[in-house]
């Protein structure tokens, strides 16, 4: 890490380094940003994990969490920070040509904070409507239903297509240019926002030529609830309840991430019993989520029976949840310092019954669907994503591993009880639809393996550490990654020492998955788009937050 510090120093002599942080943290001037970013990319930091917009009251800034797709040591993350004091026209150079996924992340920062990224090709809002007034995440934003009432009209399709971009002229002033995304003669089909197979309210404006897809322009924000903004006015335990509603299919894992982030910041030691229980619950959730992913993908391909089979087996997990935690979909089980209550006496037995049952059912899935000639014929040779593309777009989780990118956070930065169990990180090299399909079923088997190792060895003791009634985090920044069923889920907390956080950011793995649709589906058929989006298994509320 020291040599990285020296390297950045040579690129940007004015760079300031923070001491004692979790990661190597550097503050640089906006002018030096592109130089440092390019330099880091050359040194192998090719994975832009997270891009966070910030409002420091006197200035607006951006925080980049950058990591490597092929870490030599355990976990290497570099945090870059930059800011500008101009609140009227805050301009920061774009890094969208260095890390491709920044195209979308920067649009998000523009949407929330009004930060203009110079030379960014597409400076539209990402979540809110184009006619929204103001930037809601700024600290001086006032919620006013008269300025921004509930809209009554669906916007004209042409409004979606005017793409502004900004560049600096010779005097250093911002110049706005607008171009149109599609031409008049293009055949555009709106898939969504209400469509049976967009897995939520996603809006894909798809340019077609006959049945063949030429371009996809995704629109988000139909389920943007402003969770991050709401978190800023909540205490830490209150925030927990919103994390499960981000990506409801891996609720416990998201909550685990936030819990760990708070525990790490507050210095709370979680008892071993709670760690084991959390790991088992996480893996059960992963199985449930992969089951829904598998079921929905089959449904998208027209096999409704397979869908019902997946849902049937998921109910078994719901039963286990219900007995211990009381909830079905929203388990509400993890709290800061451990778990809410001890496991039910039946828990161990039911989980043990479930493991052989699930193994038998996976065999059935293979018979019913995987070995079906039509299904196999459709999934093979279709929807490829190379490893380079996956890294550039930050496609993590099962989809990234299907492209050959070893990106499992459970292996890179083990948490909870993951360092005590043996499991394989499933890797495929093909990057096709069939690889993504198979990897989910294989991961279910690995999850069963993890549960099998833990279930008999849950240590005795407390399931919850003693936590002060009002949790206050020491001032600073905290970042925690967990591996949820869709990939690398990150929680960023910026605390000023108060009982509320100053800024919370959730890194959603699903946004990358949707952005990967365009490169994967171009020149494929509509039916493939539906199937490929099923194989990516994204959850829209996780993107929109």
């Amino acid at each position: 890490m020291d040599n990285m510090q020296k390297y950045i120093q040579t690129l940007a002599p004015k760079a300031q380094f923070e001491e004692g942080g979790q990661y190597l943290t550097t503050t640089i001037e906006p002018d030096a940003l592109r130089k440092v970013a390019t330099g880091l990319k050359e040194k192998g930091f090719d994975y832009l994990m997270c891009l966070t917009g910030m409002d420091y009251k006197e200035s607006l800034g951006v925080i980049y969490h950058i990591s490597s797709s092929n870490p030599k040591e355990k976990e290497t993350v570099i945090v870059l920070k930059t800011s500008t004091t101009n609140r009227e026209e805050p301009a920061i150079p774009t890094v969208s040509d260095i890390w491709e996924i920044a195209t979308y992340y920067e649009r998000e920062a523009y949407d929330f904070y009004g930060i203009i990224f110079v030379n960014h090709p597409d400076m539209r809002r990402l979540f809110l409507r184009e006619d929204w007034v103001g930037f809601p995440f700024r600290k001086d934003y006032v919620v006013n239903d008269e300025i921004n009432p509930v809209p009554t009209k669906v916007p004209d399709p042409d409004d979606y297509e005017a793409v502004p971009s900004y560049s600096l002229n010779k005097e250093g002033k911002l110049v706005k240019k607008t171009k149109s995304l599609f031409e008049n003669k293009d055949y555009i089909v709106n898939i969504g926002p209400q469509h049976p197979s967009t897995h939520g309210v996603l809006h894909l404006r798809t340019k077609l030529e006959g049945e063949i897809i030429k371009h996809i322009d995704p629109h988000f924000g139909y389920i943007h609830r402003g969770i991050e903004k709401m978190c800023e006015s909540m205490t830490y335990p209150q925030m927990l309840y919103l994390t499960e509603r981000l990506d409801y299919l891996c609720g416990t894992m998201n909550r685990h991430g936030l819990c760990m982030c708070i525990e790490k910041a507050a210095g709370i030691e979680v008892p071993a019993r709670a760690q084991y229980i959390r790991t088992i619950f996480d893996e059960l959730t992963r199985i449930a989520s992969h089951l829904i992913g598998w079921a929905c993908m089959c449904n998208d391909m027209g096999s409704i029976t397979a869908f019902i089979y997946g849902m049937r087996d998921r109910e078994k997990i719901m039963d286990i949840y219900e007995e211990t935690a009381g909830g079905r979909l929203m388990v509400n089980y993890y709290v800061v310092g451990g778990v809410a209550q001890d496991i039910h006496p039946n828990f161990v037995n039911r989980v043990k019954e479930f493991i052989p049952y699930m193994r038998k059912m996976i065999e059935e899935y293979h018979t019913l669907f995987t070995h079906n000639p039509i299904a196999a014929g459709r999934m093979k040779d279709c929807g490829f994503l190379t490893k380079e593309q996956a890294v550039a777009l930050g496609v993590t989780g099962p989809s990234g591993r299907a492209s050959g990118w070893s990106c499992d956070v459970r292996k890179i930065a083990p948490y909870a009880a993951y360092d005590k169990v043996k499991f394989d990180e499933m890797l495929h090299q093909g990057g096709g639809t069939f690889d993504r399909y198979m990897i989910r079923l294989e991961e279910i088997e690995q999850s069963l393996r993890i549960i099998e190792q833990l279930i008999d060895n849950i240590p005795e003791g407390d399931c919850r550490a003693k936590v002060p009634a009002i949790i206050k985090l020491p001032a600073g920044e905290y970042y925690q990654r967990v591996e949820n069923a869709r990939g690398d889920f990150g929680v960023y907390i910026n605390s000023t020492g108060d009982k509320n956080p100053y800024r919370v950011k959730f890194r959603s793995p699903c946004l990358s998955l949707v952005t990967a649709l365009d490169p994967m589906c171009t020149e494929q058929k509509i039916a493939d788009l539906i199937m490929i989006s099923g194989s990516l298994d994204y959850v829209i509320p996780c993107i929109d937050r």
Binding site: L128, P151, Q194, G200, Y222, I223, K229, M230, R245
Partner: protein, 200 residues
């Protein structure tokens, strides 16, 4: 007609809550005088309509997963004849508003509702669509879907259990069985101490 005359197979009137509300609804209807001659025909029509309510596949977030559970093997709403989920709003009878409705989604939902053919019913599923739920304070969430479209049945929960959804659907059946075909559309104006779900 009284509440106890509404028949739902293998369910007693006492098994249901909010019977007073339905009683008020009936009285409101009877004020205009039900035509006796058409009552038998009404019964037949209402029997058909209440037993063949095809839902529209609509889900924005979490509650949609529980809606899928209702459709799947364990809970199986096919028993009620509701399993013919239609993807086109033109052919659907009921829209389960399952999930949060945001400002950006609101006009889309309104349009979907307008595209449905009469008779159409709305069930607000879960806290978010009833009142905004956990996201009530947000700048981008509609606090209650009844601000945009009229709601027939509210199913509370976050998300409601599949059993609660089945119960809500049976409540909707009871409501449909009170309809008077020859005097449609009729949305009585009842304030039951809560927000009024009428046309706004």
């Amino acid at each position: 007609m009284e509440v106890k005359d509404i028949k739902i197979k293998s369910m007693k009137t006492e098994d249901f809550k909010d019977n007073e509300y339905l009683q008020q609804y009936i009285e409101e209807l009877q004020k205009d005088g039900l035509n006796i001659a058409t009552e038998k025909l009404d019964d037949l029509i209402n029997w058909g309509r209440s037993n063949s309510v095809w839902p529209f596949t609509f889900a924005t977030s979490c509650c949609g997963i529980e809606f899928m559970c209702v459709a799947a093997a364990r809970h199986d709403f096919a028993r009620f004849g509701w399993e013919v989920t239609r993807n086109s709003p033109r052919q659907a009878d009921v829209i389960f508003v399952s999930g949060t409705i945001t400002y950006k989604m609101a006009p889309v939902l309104k349009r979907l509702y307008d595209q449905m053919a009469e008779p159409k019913y709305v069930i607000a599923v879960g806290g978010c669509s009833i009142s905004g739920g956990p996201f009530k304070e947000s700048y981008h969430v509609v606090n209650g879907v009844d601000k945009i479209i009229p709601v027939d049945v509210y199913i509370p929960g976050c998300p409601p259990r599949p059993e609660a959804m089945l119960y809500g659907m049976m409540q909707l059946q009871r409501k449909i069985k009170l309809e008077n075909f020859f005097k449609l559309p009729k949305k009585p104006n009842i304030s039951n101490g809560q927000t009024e779900g009428g046309n706004k």
